[in-house]
Amino acid sequence: LSSETVNTKVGSFTPAKARYASHFYLQDPKYKGACYTGMWLSGKPHGHGKLVWASTAQTYEGEFRNGLYNGFGRMIFVLNASAGVAEEYKGEWKDGMMHGQGEMSYSDKQVYIGHWMHNVRHGHGVLRMGTMTSPTPSIFTGNWDNDKRSGFGVMDDIMRGEKYMGMWDNDARSGNGLIVTLDGIYNEGRFSLNKLMGQGILLCHDNTKFEGDFCGDAQVNGKGVLTMPNGDRIEGTFQGQWNEGLKINGLYFKGTGPEENSAVAFPDRAVSTHSPYYIPATKKWRSVFNECRDRLGCLGNDEPDLKKAWKSVAEDLVRAPVAKTMHQEREIIDDILKGVDLDQAKKIAKDKKKLQEYLIKAFSLPCHPLGRLLETLVDVYRATYVGMGAHSRLLPHAVEEIKSYIERVYAIIRILFPSLPNEDFVHVGDSNEADGQSEGGGLDSNTLLGPLIFPRFYPPLFTLYALHNEKNDSAYWERVLQLNKRTDLALMSYLEVKRTFWLASEETNGLVYEADLTDWKHTHYYGKAVDAFQQISTKFSPMEKISVLKETFHRIHKEVQDFWKGEEKIVSLDDLFPVFQFVVIRSRVHHLGSEIDFIEDLMEAKYRAGEQGHMFTTLKACYYQILNEN
């Protein structure tokens, strides 16, 4: 309230329009029996106040507008005063109703945190369902429509030891979905009335696969094909619960032996996620993004309004409860607020570094719409892929999901910085710049957001890669440990590194054949390159990992140059490859296969044919060489 509305004139008989007072409601249909203490405007509660029903102790404390709950407020709903049964809502209100973000603690111990509309759960929200006896509640994370689960959602059912991720309708699992269980079973299909019905796929940890008719989760009934890990298969009719034995009436076919284990050779890592029951990543978490758009003042399909968007950001930042915001954050908020004027927004968008700085700040503030968005995305990602969701078969889903986040977050950022290039249309021309010259030049969603977004999602995502590559990575690790038992010179000799590039003087060269040197493990040669390469696991985005690679090659060349004072140089890959292999072996990177797959899947396409692509290809080649060579 601005001070002009308050009557401060001494001696005036007209009461001030706005003032602080208490009032006991006798007649009012809504507030009958309650006592209001707080700010008034023109005879209605307006501003901060507290409403208490003396008979039940039902209480609302928070903001009012024109006599209605509006803004942030806390309500204790008393259901049964004598038994002390009550529910509590803390959150946003609009025109007297729960509307916006809010948290409700129900009398049955359930807690809902999420979006509300017209007094019911609507939009993105998380419901924790805990009973008195279970310390770990089951959790639903997903979309709500008119108080019912509807759309995409993830249900982490701790009691049953399974996680469902898929579509919902009218509070029941309905449509495409999949279940992963504690036993490592992956069951995918079409759900109806909360149950898996009709065609579906069931995959076990050991690659046993059933494809056929279901009449419940892991409940097989009807035609199908059962394929064993060794390639044998049975076609026929099946009946029963997967874990309790199946009744089979069918034909047995001897397989042609286990499928060629192409994983060790050269896997074409185009993972096919596209089973008929697959849900595209763009269909997931739509409300999360829509609610962020709403926050930025674009309701529904409205065209974004730059001024409105920045005004909303400012409002959100100012409204942030100061008590919760630490001093340092307060400074950041002030900084951001200073940057709110629109000309500045345009200037920021032109300067990649400034823009990134702004985004880092915004993403770190939960009260900023962008910070809130990212925080929610991290939450839903973890809700999906941590715990039982850490299942190697979910890797393709997780990869696709993070790619989709980057695109969609970028689209939202364009509301605030409309001068950023629109990526709804693919620029074919851009991908042409294969010679690496485009590097650092143009801004696109990946260059801009990759370094900001990947670190937050890295732990669950990389866990999936590690699970997916478990076999190869442990085989690789064994090889690396074995190779590392050799001394530097013995190893270089084994790898057929050209003598010139041993970077050892003639006298030392003779020592390599002496057996007593075998326990001399200290790395002398190419040590700086080894140090550089080890950094690969400390970087969280594909491009940063590629930079590590670039630095490694750079240091290899530098060490050769320093040793030979420019007389000799590594020019061809014939010479470079064995040296690089030496460096990689000495670096002892534990999950190198996972690192490679991570880069492969998430590296930007435009770099593939360029120098970075060649370096990465050499790394891949090196990994397979170490893995497969005896």
């Binding site: 021309g429 042409n432 294969a434 090659f553 140089k569 020019v571 890959l573 060649h614 397979y624």
Partner: protein, 212 residues
């Protein structure tokens, strides 16, 4: 690789046994330096060159491979998505020509006709030590639909020509596949779209060479 408005971008992979001089050929081509100790670039395993062929701008990125026999199995990692391959043998070394034949067989098997091949007999400065019959090599190249050229990195003979020949072949191949796509109307549109998608994702198999 895609091309746009008269621009072409090709990936060429360089295959051949260790000592046939494939790296020297590229160095000669890209920097006109042979066996020079004062190279400006730190490494020659990845080089680029821009060309102008009949007014068409062509960019080449040339990928070296490790030629030692023990690295043979790594070939597919390097040559995937290549538009062209240069297979180098040493005319004084019959064995190196046999290796080229192996590569050709493998490339044709895996990439089919999507890749333009150029077989190069290097070291023609050592003509008197020739052990690979010129006519035979020529006939072989013809039989597998490859170009055959002779060169000497040392004397800088035939080097520009070989890259130019290959670049022309790749332009022709790309134009052909583009016009194929266009003439068949709807399929043209869909394959153009596919061309775009390839940029974004890992192509599953070997992509039809970009039509746009």
């Amino acid at each position: 690789m895609a091309s746009v408005a008269g621009r072409y971008q090709f990936k060429i992979v360089l295959l051949g046994e260790g000592c046939v001089g494939k790296t020297s050929l590229v160095l000669r081509y890209c920097q006109d330096k042979f066996n020079d100790k004062h190279l400006t670039t730190l490494q020659a395993s990845y080089l680029t060159k821009k060309l102008n062929i009949d007014g068409k701008r062509v960019g080449l990125s040339i990928w070296d491979t490790a030629g030692q026999e023990r690295f043979h199995a790594l070939g597919p990692i390097y040559y995937r998505d290549s538009n062209g391959a240069i297979l180098v043998y040493d005319i004084t070394d019959e064995d190196s020509f046999q290796k080229v034949k192996n590569w050709v067989k493998e490339l044709r098997k895996i990439l089919g006709d999507d890749i333009c091949l150029c077989i190069v007999g290097n070291k023609i400065d050592l003509e008197r030590d020739r052990h690979v019959d010129g006519a035979e090599a020529e006939a072989y190249a013809k039989s597998v639909g490859a170009k055959h050229l002779l060169a000497s990195a040392k004397l800088n003979k035939g080097v520009d020509e070989l890259f130019l020949e290959l670049a022309k072949a790749m332009v022709t191949a790309q134009d052909a596949s583009a016009s194929n796509g266009q003439s068949s109307g709807r399929r043209g549109a869909s394959s153009r779209k596919r061309g775009v998608e390839i940029v974004d994702e890992q192509p599953a198999g070997q992509p039809k060479k970009g039509c746009c």
